[in-house]
């Protein structure tokens, strides 16, 4: 059993209007040291034992569906997890 944590964020070259609004909001609260905020998505995928190539499958689903390569980057962490 594997637990996979997937992080999807807008690419550095793409402007993040949501992140910018949050950064400005933090700044108006007095947190002037927060220079930049990028907002993304966090997903947890639970794999059962039938999947042999977990890493290959994770890359495949990230590229096919979980992220849009035109505007987004992804990274992932694979953790072994005990059977529930």
């Amino acid at each position: 059993m594997y637990k996979v944590k997937v992080y999807v964020t807008l690419r550095e070259s793409v402007l993040d209007p949501q992140g910018k609004a949050v950064q400005q909001s933090l700044s108006s609260l007095g947190y002037n040291g927060v220079e930049d905020v990028r907002i993304g998505k966090y997903m947890e995928l639970q794999f059962d034992d039938t999947v042999t190539d977990v890493e290959g499958t994770v890359k495949e689903v990230c590229e096919k569906l979980l992220s849009n390569p035109v505007i987004e980057d992804y990274r992932y962490e694979i953790e072994e997890s005990a059977k529930q």
Binding site: S13, V14, P17, L65, L66, N68, V70, I71
Partner: protein, 227 residues
Amino acid sequence: MKFAVIVFPGSNCDVDMYHAVKDELGEQVDLVWHDADNLDQYDGILIPGGFSYGDYLRSGAIAHMSVVMNAIKKAAEAGKPVLGVCNGFQILLESGLLPGAMLRNKNLKFICRTVELSVENNKTMFTSSYEKGDKIRVPIAHGEGNYYCDDETLAKLKENNQIVFTYASDVNGSLSDIAGITNEKGNVLGMMPHPERAVDDLLGSADGLKLFQSIVKHWRDSHVVNA
């Protein structure tokens, strides 16, 4: 000419599109559910606006994995007109039938109002009834219509005259004020504004009707003898 309006769970402009074609254009049209695997009987495919699958993950991301998308790709390859409006445009972008992606509107607001568009290219099967440079009034209603693509793609879009409609002034932050683009072949058009909501003066504008009339004219010219 016979049109299919594709319906996904969460589509909400499907009925508007249906009536625009049936009542204002006077052509045949069916509402077609997203699990259809064959669209061979249709001459034109219309993908309406809405919030397919609740916009989960990204707008259009889940819909582009539907069964009907294979049939839509086949129709596009066959050169049939494929029009995606609003969420339909987002689905076409996700499916790769059109290049680029949509970001949140620059001002982070859902914008719902009638805007002025410029017709940038009238040499397409969707715009032949307009003049180049025409200013038309068409409603928009979207939160994610901020068109984005890389510099290389944008240069290609310009070079091939694939930018068909632009906003007359900056509305949502779109690159080059892009409101609608076609594929390279010119038979797939995606646009954020809703031409189906501008087909009668009673609706505030009839400027969208010419778009549908252009499609029919193009079809007649190639399918009807002595058209």
